[in-house]
Every structure is written in structure tokens, then in C-alpha cells.
Symmetry: C2
Subunit: 198 residues, 2 copies
């Protein structure tokens, strides 16, 4: 079960963790291949043996972030009441909590894919796909008990996702109640009443 490599214990994992640290500490511009390598105690060219270029490392980091993201949402869900609305709101609060706690991670997760995306290692790409889909499934499951918004089968989940994501981007990290909108309503107040399926 041991994955001892030659010199470093587990460089791949160390690079991902270093990247997340750098993001959390210094924002999105602080994430650098060379700094990841340095933090892992390794030369600047070493990462090339585990990741095809910076985009691949970033993709692996983002995949890991989606796991943390899902965990946060699930933790909030498990601490909430059992009514459908309480569950849905809890997940949204988890969504917002993650943005507030890990703003740079959130930023890199939802940034439009850069250019070289087509040549990241296929397994990394697959993991990324899995983790991001999994995160969305949490929200989808919580939306399922409600009647479809606008008569569209995916209407509710799309509406909730857009709403919480927009709120997260525009307002979640705004200095307390200092936005172009003036005093900010809490998220629970702008989530519309959603009738249950009959």
C-alpha cells in the first residue's frame, strides 16, 4: 500500500496541497508552478513528471477543491432540519460558507477554462469531471422535492444554482453591507418560495 517514490515521498500529492495552501494564503496570483515545487522541497522542473504543464496541476487542484466544496455543503446539510426547504437552504449556506472561507479556491474553480485544457492528463480531466458533477448532484438532489420551476424539468436546480452562485460571486465577500445594492438581504430571503411536487 506504500507509494514510496525514489526521492520524495509523494510529490504529486504534495504539489496539490502546496498549491491549495498558496491559493488560500496569497490569492490566485500566488499560485505558481515554481512556488509549488519549492514548497514541496523540489526543483522547479520536477512537477513535469507528474503533471503536463501548469494547467494540469491547476486541474488537479481544482478537482481537489470540488471535494472540499462538496464536503462543506454536506456538512451544512447534516446540521440542518429535515424539511426540504431547510435542507436546500443549508446546502446553499454551505455553498456561501465555502466562498467566504476559501475565496481564491472558489475563484479558480469557477474560472473559465484556460487555453491548454485539451492536453491535461486524461485521468486528471476525468477526476475533475467526476468531482464537479458530484458537487452539482448535491444541489440537484436537494432540489428534487420541489415542483419544477417554469414547468421545466431542470428549472428548479438551474434556478437555485444560478441564484446561489450569483449571490456568492457578487455579494458573499462584499464588505459587510457595503454594496451597490445597499444593505444586503440574507440569502434565505431571496430564495423564492418553492412549492413541493404533488
Amino acid at each position: 500500500m506504500r507509494k514510496d517514490t525514489h526521492h520524495h515521498g509523494d510529490l504529486r500529492e504534495a504539489l496539490i496541497l502546496a498549491g491549495i495552501e498558496l491559493l488560500d494564503e496569497g490569492g490566485i496570483d500566488a499560485l505558481t508552478l515554481r512556488k509549488c515545487a519549492a514548497r514541496a522541497g523540489v526543483s522547479h522542473a520536477a512537477p513535469a513528471h507528474h503533471f503536463k504543464g501548469l494547467v494540469s496541476l491547476k486541474a488537479a487542484i481544482v478537482a481537489r477543491c470540488y471535494r472540499m466544496f462538496s464536503s462543506t455543503m454536506l456538512a451544512h446539510k447534516n446540521n440542518a432540519g429535515t424539511t426540504p426547504r431547510a435542507q436546500l437552504l443549508a446546502i446553499c449556506e454551505g455553498y456561501l460558507a465555502f466562498t467566504r472561507t476559501h475565496a481564491p479556491l472558489f475563484q479558480i474553480m469557477f474560472q473559465p477554462k484556460p487555453e491548454g485544457m485539451e492536453r491535461v492528463n486524461p485521468d486528471i480531466l476525468e477526476e475533475l469531471e467526476t468531482e464537479s458533477t458530484n458537487a452539482f448532484m448535491i444541489l440537484r438532489a436537494a432540489s428534487a422535492p420541489f415542483a419544477p420551476v417554469g414547468g421545466h424539468e431542470q428549472g428548479t436546480e438551474v434556478m437555485v444554482w444560478a441564484l446561489v452562485h450569483g449571490y456568492a460571486v457578487l455579494f458573499a465577500n462584499a464588505p459587510d453591507e457595503e454594496t451597490p445594492a445597499g444593505v444586503l438581504p440574507e440569502f434565505a430571503r431571496i430564495l423564492p418560495d418553492l412549492p413541493l411536487r404533488k
Copy 2:
């Protein structure tokens, strides 16, 4: 009224336009101080006389983008019906049209402010503030006829803004109907019914 400078006609403006071109053509990574300078036919250090560093040029570009953004929204509004919901929907469609036509501009506009933001030229910062606030005011005005969502005075505008922004980021540029959500509902279907003020 002529602003002839020594060598270049109007370098400041040329740099902003070059930046917008670069963004539109090559995405957010294509925006570079040196490339802006080259496209304006000037050495790479010339921009320093008009903008305090790259962040300042970016701020000026973003301010200009907000102007284009407002124009797009207003154009849609003027081509729409006069009912409050038609007006509001038209503005949202303008919002989404801008994202689809100028994805990189949209991206740089709503990116979290980078580090050196505190030392951009104060007039640029003020222009940015003005233009972005002005854009939001368009949405606010269109939200005014509706009863406050969640009983909160700013509830409606915050809800609409979050909804359209989230939809724009997550879905507007998705390959047609290929998203984790499955077949995508149009925006008009996920905008809730909003009762008018009485």
C-alpha cells in the same frame, strides 16, 4: 479641444482599445502590457506615463467595458415591450447577450480585485466606480416596479442580479444544452413571477 501629445495622438485611449481588442481576440491571458503597447505602436514602457502599472490599465479597461455593458442592456431594453416584466427581462437578456458576445470582457469585469488595486490612479478608480454603479442602476430601475422580495427593500434587485449573474457565469456560455444540469431552461423560465408594488 485637441489633445495632441508629442509623438502619439492619444496613447491613453489607444491602449484601452488595444486591451479590449486583445481580450476579445485571445481571452484573458492575451491581455498584456507589452502587447497593448506594441499594438499601439509604442515601446513597452510608454504606458507607465498614463497608467500606474498594469492594474491601472486593467481598471481603465474594465471601466470602459462597463460602459459597453450598460449600452447593451439599454439597447435591449429599448427594443422591448413596456410592461415591467418585459423591461426587466430585456435587460437580463442584454446582460446575457454581453456575456456571450464578450466573454473575456465579462470575465475581467467580475473578477475579484487583484492586489495592487489601492494604488491605481484615483481618477481611474472613480471612473470605474461610476460606470459599474451606473450599470447596476439600470437593473435597479427595472426592479423598482416590483414588490420587494422577502420583504427586504433591496430584495428584488439583489435576487434578480444574483439570478442573472449566476446564470451568465454558469450557463450562458455552455455548449448548447450540454451542462451538468442537462437540457438548459431559458432564462425567462427561471425568473420567478414578481408581483407589482401596490
